[in-house]
Symmetry: C2
Subunit: 463 residues, 2 copies
């Protein structure tokens, strides 16, 4: 692939800018709200729009029906010797409520100050479309791509991707690839493009403690009957020490430590601790001793209580010794922690803490391991080079504290490196009113994607 070929593609991308915005607007007008069954025809219409669009580019897309909303699949021609990239994205959107908080109606895309406002603008119609458009530009300009690109675009991401995993498992061969490209995250900050190379996993639980068979009068019974809310407080307090270290036996055994390069990358990021605290309205932070805030949020395992329920929660004082107390809590995991081992450690810690007069029920909600693409991955390097082309600057390497369960599935089932290339901004109001996408970021995304196919194609498959 000559440099001039890519440049011709990039020139075309430049010329087509307005058309891309028109196409995006058209897709944004379809209220493909997957959570609300009365929008099912619109969800289907959005899938149909994609099929038509991909067909118009010379591909032979498939509309794949599932028990829920359909998948859209398409692929470019195979290129022997070159890697295969699979683009994953979704055409469904979050419900737009509360409607009265929107400046323009959520499905009437409106451009203000260089940003397009509509539900789905970044999440994920706009970001997903950057890859569709870059492939279109390659096809128009060059007639073919320098590597095979496969598209798998789903319509159930906002409702838990219920039917995606089974499709991946049943069609792993068809979907075989070397890397998965997903643009459904954000840049680190405006003007600071980022590659997210790691996600934390999760292990989520609910514990129910039951004491007496009914709420008791705390005067008549208090002191003589074990109080489940106190037992719960003691158990939760025992899970983490005052240095922020989690006390489950074996919890840190498999934790992959941060490398020097990673710690340096994070330290180099324009993260302002004071601004962070101010924005959250807090006067300081606590956390695992010896780690920075970004390290704690992205690369260290953590424990959080997500909910507490017991006894009387109304106004004023009620003298009750509650029958029950329960807590929802989660551990965020990092590679190579195994959620199953965490559950075992949790039971080992909690079971001896159940006092006489209390029974414990532990609900294991769901678990997903953390994931990290080594910074040395050639696909990560190719993506960084492409971002330099598209954005005019090198990306930072960041991790994400949350989990994207489907990323784990892609990595596990397809055995491929997952490239999380976000073009959006942290304040793009995903899942909130006035969702937006900066048009310059949309264009940079398309340019980066166009360059990415070139950079990936140059990776020597034999090394």
């Amino acid at each position: 692939m000559t440099k001039s070929t890519v440049n011709r593609v990039l020139d075309l991308v430049e010329k087509q800018q307005e058309q891309y915005v028109v196409d995006l607007s058209e897709l944004l007008r379809i209220p493909s709200i997957s959570a609300d069954s009365k929008y099912a025809p619109d969800v289907k219409r959005a899938a149909g729009w994609l099929v038509e669009h991909l067909g118009g580019m010379g591909l032979s897309p498939e509309l794949i029906e599932t028990a829920g909303h359909p998948l859209v699949y398409a692929e470019t021609a195979p290129v022997p010797g070159a890697p295969v990239a699979l683009v994953y994205g979704h055409y469904d959107v979050q419900p737009p409520d509360p409607l009265d908080k929107w400046t323009n109606p959520p499905f009437e895309p409106t451009i203000r100050d260089g940003r397009i406002y509509a539900r789905g603008a970044t999440d994920d119609k706009g970001q997903m479309l950057t890859h569709v458009k870059s492939v279109e530009a390659w096809m128009k300009s060059n007639g073919s791509l320098p590597l095979q690109v496969k598209f798998l675009i789903e319509g159930e991401e906002e409702v838990g991707s219920e039917h995606l995993e089974s499709y991946l498992r049943e069609h792993a061969e068809k979907l075989a690839c070397d890397c998965v490209v997903i643009s459904d995250t954000s840049q680190f900050a405006p003007g600071v493009p980022a590659i997210t190379y790691g996600l934390r996993g999760i292990a989520y639980y609910e514990v129910h403690l039951t004491g007496p068979n009914r709420d008791l009068h705390s005067g008549v019974f208090g002191g003589g009957v074990t109080n489940p809310a106190i037992a719960l407080s003691k158990m939760l307090a025992a899970i983490i020490d005052d240095e922020g270290r989690i006390q489950l036996p074996g919890f840190y055994d498999d934790v992959v430590p941060l490398t020097e390069r990673e710690r340096e990358e994070f330290q180099g990021l324009p993260f302002d601790q004071n601004a962070f605290e101010q924005e959250l309205g807090i006067n300081g932070v606590t956390g695992e001793a010896g780690f920075s805030t970004l390290e704690r949020r992205w690369a260290r395992p953590t424990f959080d209580v997500c909910g507490l329920t017991s006894g009387y929660q109304g106004e004023g004082a009620k003298t009750v010794l509650p029958s029950q107390a329960s807590a929802k809590f989660s551990f965020r995991l990092v590679p190579q922690q195994d959620p199953k081992k965490v559950t075992a450690g949790l039971k080992k810690l909690l079971e001896p803490l159940v006092p006489a007069g209390i029974t414990m029920e532990l609900v294991d909600y769901h678990g997903a391991p953390g994931i990290v693409i080594p910074l040395e991955s050639p696909y990560l390097s190719a993506a960084a080079d492409a971002i330099e082309v598209g954005f005019g600057k090198r990306p930072v390497f960041m991790r994400e504290g949350g989990s994207i369960p489907i990323v784990n599935k892609f990595a596990e089932i397809l055995d491929a490196d997952v490239l999380l290339l976000g073009w959006g901004q942290n304040d793009d109001n995903l899942h909130s009113p006035n969702e937006k996408f900066t048009l310059a970021d949309f264009q940079r995304g398309i340019r980066t994607s166009a360059a990415l196919w070139d950079k990936l194609a140059k990776i020597n498959q034999d090394t």
Copy 2:
């Protein structure tokens, strides 16, 4: 006062049995629900019934209007050299809901198996009336009482006795007495009459911890921001150790220890630990080391969490790092603990435990000291002797784990020993559907009350 005088009174009580039940039924028919303003006329009607009834006995009762429901006051003639007893009771009742759980309508008293079923049957119309009837019997049989008895019957007990305290303070001289007689508690068990000689006090608090200014995503922020629900668990856990000892500085300094006689009295009670646990559906108990269940419930200070609230409490898993966490909790106090000192100790313990990133608000709801009448009190002995006459057996001496705030006020303002003489049973369904009063207990109560005036009168006021 000769023995035969009392016996004549007791003979009359015996003869009047049926009439007493008729009178009680009449009072029970009045739905004097103090909590519901639409029953205000009925509350007034019940007060009027009492005034008429006391007047018919030859007293000159007063209906005392307050900003709420009226008080009824009456007194017998002063008896120089004899002590003065003040009977406190209430003619108002709890709402009867849920109505569909009643076998007979709550204000249509019905006798089944020797028990009268109606709202207010024991609490407190039936128990209060035993003293009215005993005085009536003395007046009818003897023309006078061997001591002065004052009645103060209120109509706001079930709604917090809002206007009683100011009345006590403003009329302390009029109400002056040596002992206060209250029948608004229970026997220890059927056939085990009891004198309740001690009540625990209370200090009730609510703590609010606030972290970030909104609920955060536990993946994105977890580990980097102090979690208020974890901070709350740690604080609550720090209040009490694993031996059930409360860790507030100075908490035990003023605690009056149980005497040997008290421990023996409690040990002699027919309390079945196994039956207690079985009834509550628990497989054991915990509590302050070195004390029995009754000692823990009646005579030792305790800590109970009454409510916990934080974060997500709905179904399933929500990955939230909550903005707030709060708990309601109380300490039950014994003499001579001072609620104000408890508050000071609590602040001393909790304030250093507030971590960076959390602000604490501590709400001090209400406090009342505990109260104990020394077992050596001559009034207590007189009451025990009277119970022997009325029930045919000596009473046990028990304490009560709860607080009766008004008892403290009587003790404090009138500087009198308070005799809590309960004729009811623990299963009389106070505040529940199918409230009842065993007619034999009603009769024993009247007999005991009649004997009480005799026994109290014999106390030498000079010793």
